[in-house]
């Protein structure tokens, strides 16, 4: 990037790249689709102008969206990104997502993307398990796709949890990737009655290695994380949520203490590995 005042790059050598993956860009995007895909959930598809110059969004990364009329941007996990086409699955829960829900195809949004330290697909092994609760199921889609692309032989188990049948998301999409999907509903109206974390017990019971999976990835509400933490026999990682100021590491608004010092959920997270998390 040239400097408007100096007119040419300052003679300091190349700027070191500090992040894994594509460096954040500020991009315009046009909404091509925004509709309810399940009770309480919408899917928004955006055409990102210029795209990421051939670079990819890593699974577990997010976009930070400027919402007309609101001061702070809203961070939303990436469900899928392919060749400039960005898919977000979100639940209207506050002023930002409620505004998004009312937007129409053709409207424009200003995005910062891709942001954050996402999941590490390289740790998946042969039999990874992906555990999603509600909207937390969304970022697991790009993760499953990435794992499958890197290792077509990987046997992916997906455990999805929702309140009720009408809320079930992405089941067919995960199955289309060849994943073994089990859906849990709290009221038992679809799939197995219970919570997604319950599925870990089924994997572990009778497994030759007494674990039943090579690595776990989790995204969802905090009670789900605590249940996983109580049950999980193997190693894994969790994707966290926090109120953010900037979303790209500048304001320190979302820092959490970990065993490896403080971590900004927006920049050093949202994905943290099991071994570094301080649960209290």
């Amino acid at each position: 990037m040239t400097c408007p005042q100096i007119g040419k790059k300052a003679n300091l050598g190349p700027v070191p790249k500090l992040e894994k993956g594509c460096v954040m860009k500020k991009l315009d995007a046009i909404i091509t689709e925004n509709k309810e895909v399940a009770k309480n959930y919408l899917k928004m598809v955006l055409e990102v102008s210029g795209g990421l110059g051939g670079e990819e969004v890593l699974p577990g990364q997010f976009v930070n969206i400027e919402i007309p009329g609101l001061y702070l941007r809203r961070p939303i996990s990436v469900c899928n990104y392919e060749a400039g086409k960005l898919t977000l699955v979100y639940k209207p829960v506050g002023s930002g997502t409620e505004h998004m829900a009312g937007m129409k195809p053709g409207e424009k949004l200003d995005l910062l993307m891709p942001l954050g330290h996402g999941f590490d697909p390289a740790k998946a092994g042969e039999r990874p398990v992906l555990i999603g609760g509600g909207a937390g199921s969304a970022p697991l889609y790009l993760l499953a796709r990435t794992i499958k692309a890197a290792n077509p032989k990987a046997q992916i188990t997906v455990l999805l949890g929702f309140n009720e049948k009408a809320e079930v998301l992405l089941e067919a999409e995960f199955r289309a990737l060849g994943a073994d999907v089990t859906v849990y509903t709290v009221d038992g109206s679809y799939g197995t009655k219970g919570f997604a974390a319950d599925g870990l017990d089924s994997l572990t019971q009778g497994a030759a290695d007494a674990v039943g999976y090579t690595y776990f990835y989790a995204c969802g509400p905090m009670p789900m994380f605590r249940a996983i933490e109580a049950k999980a026999k193997g190693d894994g990682e969790y994707s966290f949520e926090e109120r953010m100021g900037c979303g790209f590491g500048a304001c320190m608004g979302c820092s959490h203490k970990t065993k490896n010092g403080y971590k900004r959920i927006c920049k050093d997270g949202p994905v943290l590995s099991r071994g570094e998390i301080l649960w209290d």
Partner: protein, 324 residues
């Protein structure tokens, strides 16, 4: 025009340029800046992360993250609450401590930023400020010290020093004794008469005043009926505070002879010009960086247009021009 606004420039190139919108340079406490735009402390980290997004050498300078003697984690989360036209933050001076800033953060910055940086320093006692400044003093990279006696998010220090003229003078005098660098004191707006504090700092040896830090504010979550911020209150900043900040810059610029750095809700080149008309020699930009990481670059590149629009040739000449 005040006495300080006619500060002589030795830069002959700057003198030669008389065309409207051409000359954005200003002198802040004896150090020449290409332009008056300075990302404010706490919104720009230690700078090098922003260098991935654009060449930060286009900035006048920037004020780095508030640094204390010891490393600090800061306050519990949530630390952020959105407001109309701004946000409340209660970060609580999270920083790696002065030694790590000198040994780790500043060398990283040196690779991407060739200008002098403004060092923002906070503390919990007079001794804290003095010891921290001693650690930073030998660092050539640091051009100015900006002493934060105005943080609303820490107890037993911070803002407590900035709300009492005596305490403000005491900190200023103590730090003055251990530094040869230009000394700027950053003031809080959460006082009855900010000019009294500013004058006390000037008399105690400050070379400049920067204002305003954030305004104490709070939000309550209607669903949980609890404060949004874990620490209940925090500092409000953003475009909503701009008129208050401008008023205080105007008042302080009348009250002191040393340069004033204006900040508070600045989001555009027009805002920069307005702050300078009120009496600011340089202008910091804070919250705007958090919603648009390119905000300062965009303001710098937009300044010539805004100057032409206002019929301004040499930006430095308008400092305090609105003073009656």
């Amino acid at each position: 025009m005040t006495e300080k606004s006619t500060a002589k420039t030795k830069d002959s190139k700057a003198k030669a340029s008389r065309t409207e919108g051409k000359n954005t340079a200003v002198t802040l406490c004896g150090i020449r800046l290409d332009n008056p735009v300075i990302p404010a402390s706490g919104t720009f980290g230690y700078g090098y992360e922003f260098a991935q997004y654009y060449d930060i050498n286009c900035l006048g300078t920037f004020s780095f993250k508030g640094t204390t003697l010891e490393p600090r984690f800061g306050n519990p989360t949530p630390r952020i609450a959105e407001c109309q036209s701004g946000l409340i933050n209660s970060v609580g001076l999270q920083n790696p401590g002065a030694h790590a800033v000198v040994s780790e953060e500043l060398p990283k910055l040196a690779k991407v930023f060739k200008k002098k940086v403004m060092a923002n320093v906070s503390g919990f006692s007079k001794e804290d400020y003095v010891e921290t400044v001693k650690i930073l003093e030998a660092t050539e990279q640091i051009g100015w010290l900006e002493i934060n006696i105005s943080c609303p998010n820490v107890h037993g220090g911070g803002m407590a020093f900035g709300t009492d003229p005596k305490a403000a003078a005491e900190i200023t005098k103590a730090v003055r004794g251990v530094t040869k660098k230009p000394l700027i004191i950053k003031l809080t707006p959460n006082v009855t008469d900010i000019t009294e504090i500013a004058k006390a700092c000037e008399e105690a040896g400050a070379d400049g005043i920067s204002l305003i830090n954030t305004m104490l504010g709070m939000r309550i979550d209607l669903k949980t009926k609890r404060p949004v911020i874990a620490n209940t209150m925090g500092g409000y900043s953003g475009p909503g505070v701009f008129p208050v900040a401008l008023r205080m810059v105007y008042q302080v610029a009348r009250a002191v002879k040393i340069p004033v750095v204006g900040l508070g809700g600045v989001s555009s080149a027009e805002n920069v010009i307005e702050m300078m008309l009120a009496g600011a020699t340089a202008v910091q930009v804070g919250s705007a960086n958090l919603v648009n990481p390119y905000a300062c670059r965009d303001i710098v590149s937009d300044l010539p247009r805004a100057m032409r629009k206002c019929g301004i040739g040499t930006l430095e000449k308008i400092i305090g021009a609105a003073q009656l």
